[in-house]
């Protein structure tokens, strides 16, 4: 280790901690970024990688600890501040203005102006084209960002970061939307930047990519750095071990029960991507009563899209769906709910809750007809009864159900969304990342509820990008990659390594897929 530390360090984090309203995202982390090298950062979702990088890029400020740039202590108050010090970042979510041209995006906030004559559009386009040519992407600087496919948008974002002329460039999952050919170009550019002495920080879930491009690797788990090595010294097995650790957490899976017959079957589900190719690629899957099927996959694997197809959200999806062996023809979400499907959406705020309504009104929103007399009059006492029961069953901490839903914590909001779905008396429950963004106590409650419901004979499909979760909660595990199920295994036979491997399979075969 001593030999390793002698590299040409440009930025150093010393004993950095970041606390968000009660949750510790990063704990006493020490990290050194080296000039002219690719510093890889790896860890599960929520391990704290992005938080760490956001602190370096000036988006967040550390709660404790200090940042040393070239040996000098620095404080970044804003991303612009960090940019001035030569730090650029490509975020996981694209930050582009779709209604502006590529050139305008690249030079946003630092337009080339000619005094009173305003922006020099021609110069901007010329310079932008030069950067784009480096990326060999065939993008015209004058085209609108909205008109480009996602992969090219990501390249624009990268071109923008390169144009900043940075000495530290952070790439947070830059390849999640790129094709194999585009990835090769990106790696070539990274190589050039390296040669110029730029320190690259590279975050990705794709292990083979990390092995190919990385020089130094740092592994994070639960906000702590659990491994640090030179890439040439290690293998993927080492990465997985450091990512997961040996101390598996205790989940609720203990009571086993008999599984029933097949309740739900999806056949040949396809969903075309807006930008060509398939987001869900001829997917077929079936679930039995009382079974919990975990769907593991990385970001963009198509899990959410598959669930949305099942619920009838996409007009141009194809394929067949059966409940209790009967095909459901109607594509309409409310018919599908009536037939026994229910979805807990991934994005609670945008798709799960109506923020202006009370806790009570949110709970009963999907099942109002249950409480009516003559088909139109909502009976208060019946509705109140159901609300009280849901609050009890799901251990929702709601002092008063008439309060606004926004007055609750994320975990309790999630329980309300689950309660809303359960009130429709579903046979099949689809849960998209049910533990996302909720605290540990609420997580345990949600997992317990899932096991209890399975015990009562409900078929549950849940998606996650947390390995431990999928191993602990599922009866069967389906691994998705690039819109396809790459592997279905029983939990007894599953191991972390098999799953991680299956989850990154699609990346290589993308060329043939599209």
């Amino acid at each position: 280790m001593a030999g390793m530390d002698e590299g040409d360090v440009v930025l150093r984090l010393e004993d950095v901690t970041k606390v968000y309203s009660g949750i510790v995202a990063v704990k006493h982390a020490n990290l050194a970024l080296r000039r002219g090298a690719v510093n890889v950062l790896v860890g599960e979702n929520g391990a704290g990688k992005s938080t760490l990088m956001r602190m370096i890029a000036g988006v967040e400020r550390p709660s404790l600890g200090r940042i040393l740039l070239e040996g000098q202590e620095v404080e970044f108050n804003s991303p612009a501040d960090a940019q001035k010090h030569g730090i650029g970042m490509v975020f996981q979510e694209l930050n582009l203005f779709g209604n502006l041209s590529v050139a305008e995006n690249i030079f946003a906030t630092r337009e080339i102006v000619r005094g009173i004559r305003g922006i020099d559009h021609r110069a901007q386009v010329e310079k932008a084209n030069a950067f784009l040519a480096k990326l060999d992407a065939g993008i015209d600087a004058e085209s609108m960002v909205d008109d480009l496919p996602i992969g090219q948008q990501q390249l624009v974002e990268i071109a923008k970061a390169i144009s900043l002329d940075t000495r530290i460039l952070i790439l947070d999952e830059p390849t999640s939307a790129l094709s194999a050919a585009e990835v090769d170009i990106l790696f070539k550019v990274i190589g050039e930047l390296k040669a110029q002495g730029v320190a690259i920080v590279y975050i990705s879930h794709r292990l083979e990519e990390l092995m190919r491009i990385g020089d130094y690797i740092t592994v994070l788990r639960d906000g702590q750095i659990t491994g640090h090595a030179m890439v040439c010294d290690i293998d993927t097995r080492w990465i997985v071990r450091s990512m997961i650790g040996s101390d598996a957490k205790d989940f609720a899976k203990s009571i086993s029960h008999k599984l029933g017959g097949e309740v739900f079957r999806a056949e040949d589900i396809c969903l075309p991507r807006k930008t060509g190719g398939l987001a869900v690629d001829h997917l077929s899957i079936s679930v039995r009563a009382g079974e919990v099927l975990g769907i593991y996959g990385l970001m963009g694997a198509g899990r959410s899209e598959f669930f949305e197809c099942v619920m009838g959200r996409h007009v141009n999806s194809t394929g067949r769906i059966y409940i209790d062996g009967e095909e459901i023809g109607s594509r309409d979400t409310s018919t599908r709910i009536k037939r026994g499907l229910a979805l807990i959406p991934e994005d609670r705020q945008r798709e799960g809750l109506v923020q202006v309504l009370s806790i009570a009104a949110n709970l009963t929103l999907a099942s109002l007809e249950r409480f009516t007399r003559f088909g139109f009059h909502i009976r208060d006492e019946r509705e109140q009864g159901a609300i009280a029961q849901a609050i009890r069953d799901l251990a929702i901490k709601a002092p008063n159900p008439d309060f606004d839903i926004t007055s609750m914590s994320g975990g309790n909001q999630q329980k309300v969304v689950i309660g809303k779905a359960l009130m429709t008396n579903p046979k099949v429950l689809l849960m998209d990342e049910p533990s996302r963004g909720i605290d540990i106590g609420a997580k345990a409650d949600v997992f317990r509820t899932m096991r209890r419901l399975a015990g009562e004979g409900l078929a549950i499909l849940f998606s996650t990008s947390d390995l431990e979760e999928v191993m602990a909660l599922s009866d069967r595990i389906a691994v998705m990659s690039n819109g396809k199920v790459t592997r279905i295994i029983d939990r007894e036979e599953a191991s972390e390594e098999i799953i991680v491997k299956a989850a990154s399979v699609g990346h290589r075969s993308r060329e043939t897929a599209s």
């Binding site: 619920m311 798709e351 799960g352 109506v354 923020q355 009370s358 009104a361 009963t364 109002l368």
Partner: protein, 353 residues
């Protein structure tokens, strides 16, 4: 009437005094204008004047109720004023001329039938608005702006811009008695006020006690979540625009009945007064919030304000200035209340944990 709200109050009873005052602001405004004019306008509190004012207010209140539902879903209906005009012409034309079947025959309807047909026309235009918005994805502002012109154009075409005068009807065609709606009385109150009471109670009931009412709020609060919860969003939107059309048709019939004549320009810019009443009553233009009770009070504040100012002899130019200021102040106070409410809620949350 304000208890007929669907978004139940949150901060409970332990909110601050200021918050309670702010919540009651529409009431306070109403009492303030009444008290002001009782002192400064002669004869303001006489029974005759109060009834006359109520009749004026009722017209705007009908439109404002329809508008409230539309705005709660996150839309807007600019066409109501034109629907008033067109429906007035439909009613007048049917009573005066009937339907000419070209070859010498003409069908006449009795007054009841005329009213029903007119209401149907209003609902139909509302349905067209709804279809444009749900099926063809036209923005509500544009769709209803279009029907505003189209409906007004048809109203003018129907009589070549002329007034249908003297709608007394003929006893042999049983088209008499049209004036009852506008100038008749039941138990001492004008018929139009009774109709308002019935429609308002029905609308408040829908908002509070029916699934469609709850769904109106849900669609305006978060359309995607509503869709994912299985709510048929398109149906909800169709409903609110058709209801708004119905309300406008009622106003068209009532005005023609009051005047015993139909003029094609009737209802010009009524939509703006309706929006003002809804907003004054606490309806949020961003959707999801609003009450029928609040809207009715808002309509009263606006109506009393303009009638009272007329009685005081204030110039109509100043009336416009004052009305505008009142609306802006109302919205500013509304925003302040919401911020305060959030603060109180946050404090309570912090106190619990």
């Amino acid at each position: 009437m304000t208890t007929a709200t669907t978004t139940k109050g949150l901060a409970g009873g332990n909110g601050s005094m200021l918050l309670t005052l702010m919540k009651l602001r529409t009431f306070i405004a109403l009492f303030a204008v009444i008290a002001f004019f009782a002192i400064f306008a002669p004869n303001f509190l006489s029974a005759a004047n109060l009834i006359l004012m109520s009749k004026h207010v009722a017209l705007n209140a009908f439109l404002a109720m329809g508008m409230t539902f539309v705005i709660i879903t996150g839309g807007i209906d600019l066409s109501v004023g034109s629907i008033v005009g067109l429906c007035g012409m439909v009613a007048g034309g049917l009573i005066l001329n009937g339907i000419d079947l070209q070859f010498g025959y003409t069908i006449y309807f009795n007054v009841f039938e005329v009213c029903l047909i007119t209401l149907f026309v209003g609902v139909l235009i509302g349905a067209i608005n709804g279809l444009l918005i749900t099926k063809l994805n036209v923005a509500p502002f544009i769709a209803t702006l279009g029907t505003l012109y189209v409906a007004r154009g048809f109203a003018l075409l129907s009589s070549d811009g002329q007034t249908f005068p003297n709608l007394v009807g003929k006893p042999e065609l049983s088209t008499t008695g049209f004036g009852f709606l506008g100038s008749g009385r039941l138990l001492g109150l004008p018929v139009s006020i009774w109709i308002l009471v019935v429609v308002a109670l029905a609308a408040a009931y829908v908002a509070r006690y029916t699934p469609i009412g709850r769904q109106i709020f849900a669609v305006g609060g978060n359309e995607r979540a509503a869709r994912m919860s299985g709510i048929r969003v398109d149906r909800v939107k169709m409903f609110v625009y058709m209801f708004s059309g119905l309300c406008a048709a009622i106003v068209g019939v009532v005005i023609s009945s009051e005047l015993m004549a139909s003029h094609p320009a009737t209802g010009n810019s009524f939509e703006l007064n309706a929006i003002a009443a809804a907003v004054l009553g606490g309806t949020s233009m961003s959707g999801g919030r609003g009450t029928i009770g609040g809207t009715i009070i808002g309509a009263f504040v606006i109506g009393i304000l303009s009638d009272g100012l007329v009685m005081m002899g204030v110039s109509s130019f100043w009336q416009m200035v004052i009305k505008g200021i009142v609306i802006i102040v109302a919205v500013v106070v509304d925003q302040a209340q919401r911020r305060l409410q959030q603060q109180v809620a946050l404090k309570q949350l912090a106190a619990r944990e």
